[in-house]
């Protein structure tokens, strides 16, 4: 096989592995966008905060890995619920721009807290769930990355089932016609808290699973080494900001496109990966602004 062909397959493999994280972030973004019409700037910070929680429990306090992982998720979910209660709900009658700034404020607050608690620690490493890796012709996926893909698959199936359950239907009803939802007895506030809780859980999973791939610091999942906020946002745009399955597909595609920047072809181009991403987003917005992965009748 030609070198380029092999490089493309490698890009696809690595792209899917990396894209799994983007997909999880994108799922959270789409979920919240459908509920509030707002792009949640804090989505990735739910993940970093959860990662800090897991790291603190496991490395600083010496708790077991599984318990620490769960603790991190709880920290992330609590942050999501607090965001709803302290920012989103009080601002529910404000404009979308105000809400957007509100979520940015949440992200900055979280980043500030992370710096404040851990500025003295120079290098932070979250251990992996398993240290194994698999040497292949097309890159060497680690166990951690494969587990991440498996979690994404599980999460996607779970979400699809959940949206067909009574509470899933109630969420959709509240998003489509809040007044009518209230009139059939759905507590729209509970639905809102539920959505933010699930979004934060997705962010938390992304953060704690991506953390061990590199060292990490404050704002890790937003703009740091694990930067998944922009790619996650792009994936959500590909999904038309509406489709959950589209967000997953979008995440994987964004992961792949980003890896195209690693082709030998582009070795002399500085910042080729970011460039590939933005060129791709630009093309999509120019030619198919409604998104690539948008089922005609979105139910989940």
């Amino acid at each position: 096989m030609s070198t380029l062909g092999q490089e493309l397959i490698t890009a696809a493999v690595i792209g899917v592995l990396q894209g799994s994280i983007y997909a999880m972030v994108a799922l959270g973004i789409v979920l919240v966008y459908r509920a509030t019409g707002v792009f949640n700037f804090a989505q990735a910070e739910f993940g970093t905060t959860a990662l800090f929680g897991a790291y603190t429990a496991h490395v600083v306090w010496g708790w077991g890995y599984a318990v620490s992982f769960g603790f991190g998720l709880v920290v992330g979910v609590v942050m999501g619920l607090l965001t709803e209660a302290l920012v989103i709900h009080p601002l529910r009658k404000a404009s979308r721009v105000t809400l957007l700034v509100g979520t940015a404020g949440v992200a900055l607050t979280a980043i500030g807290l992370q710096f404040w608690k851990y500025n003295e620690t120079l290098i932070m490493v979250m251990p992996r769930i398993s240290d194994g890796f698999h040497q292949t012709k097309y890159g060497s996926p680690t166990d951690q990355q494969l587990i991440t893909v498996a979690v994404l698959v599980a999460v996607t199936i779970a979400l699809a089932l959940f949206f067909r359950s009574p509470w899933g239907l109630a969420i959709q009803a509240a998003q489509q016609e809040p007044v009518a939802a209230e009139l059939v007895g759905i507590n729209v506030r509970s639905v809102s808290l539920l959505i933010w809780g699930i979004a934060a859980l997705l962010g938390g999973l992304a953060g704690i699973l991506a953390g061990p791939n590199t060292t990490f610091s404050a704002a890790f999942l937003s703009f740091g080494a694990g930067g998944a906020l922009l790619p996650g946002f792009m994936a959500a745009v590909l999904a038309g900001m509406r489709s959950m399955s589209g967000a997953v597909a979008g995440g994987l595609v964004v992961g792949f496109v980003e890896q195209l920047g690693n082709l030998t072809l582009l070795v002399d181009v500085n910042g080729a990966r970011a460039m590939m991403l933005f060129v791709f987003l630009l093309l999509v917005l120019l030619f198919k602004p409604s998104g690539l992965f948008v089922p005609r009748a979105v139910t989940a």
Binding site: L183, V184, G185
Partner: protein, 235 residues
């Protein structure tokens, strides 16, 4: 016994009062129609009863108990149901899913919900045919049937229907009113809101509204009195 008592109800949007202290009672088992022109305050009245609007003053009692501190969802649980103006069906859910959500407040009793679903399909056979269709793709008349059907799913003791006839052909409007009359015969008290006098033959009593006040109550033969329509609706 009175199902609903409305006492000196004043409701306004911001500084503008829309209802200027209205009083009426709905008795168990009757079909009452709240009739008036656009802007008379009909929708405001039922919205306040359903808990969507907060009254400035006055009292609403349901089965003798004040509703003042009850949330809209709590009122549904109590047995008060509103099919809202503009239908407000869930467009990207199927007809069956819309109806299932109608029984949300009583979702733990799945057997009862299924019975109620059969009942609704009995009132509106067309909904049964279109069970798996997205509600947003239904015709206007079918959407109205769905909105009423959804409101019936919670097994209300008082069913309020806001402008069922709006935007419907006379034939379709009559079909919806006939179904409503059937729902009433099966034991549900009904309060209809209408500006279409065509609803009068289906009602036991008519309350006429004008500019935020109740101006006349018509019972029995009076309802079918042509002069009444002329006097209050100009029809």
């Amino acid at each position: 016994m009175a199902v609903l008592e409305v006492q000196d109800l004043v409701v306004g949007y911001g500084q503008f009062p829309v209802l200027h202290g209205i009083n009426f009672v709905i008795e168990e088992g009757e079909v009452c129609v709240l009739l008036g022109l656009n802007g008379a305050g009909k929708t405001t009245t039922v919205s306040a009863i359903a808990g969507l609007l907060k009254p400035t003053s006055g009292e609403i009692r349901f089965h003798g108990k004040s509703l003042r501190r009850r949330s809209p969802s709590a009122r549904v649980k109590d047995g008060l149901s509103l099919s809202p103006e503009g239908r407000r069906i869930f467009p990207r859910l199927t007809v069956s899913q819309n109806l299932r959500l109608g029984a949300w407040s009583k979702r733990r009793d799945t057997r009862q919900a299924r019975q109620q679903l059969d009942l609704v399909f009995g009132y509106f056979p067309r909904l049964a045919e279109r069970g798996n269709q997205m509600a947003g793709t239904l015709s206007g008349g079918e959407q109205q049937m769905l909105a009423v059907g959804r409101a019936v799913m919670s097994r209300p003791s008082l069913l309020m229907i806001d402008e069922a006839s709006l935007g419907l052909s006379p034939t379709l409007a009559r079909a919806v009113w006939e179904a409503t009359a059937q729902i009433a015969r099966d034991g549900t008290t009904v309060l209809m809101v209408e500006q279409n006098a065509g609803a009068l033959p289906f009602a036991d009593r008519a309350l006429l509204m004008e500019k935020g006040t109740l101006v006349h109550t018509a019972v029995g033969d009076d309802i079918r009195n042509v002069n009444l329509r002329e006097a209050y609706l100009g029809a």
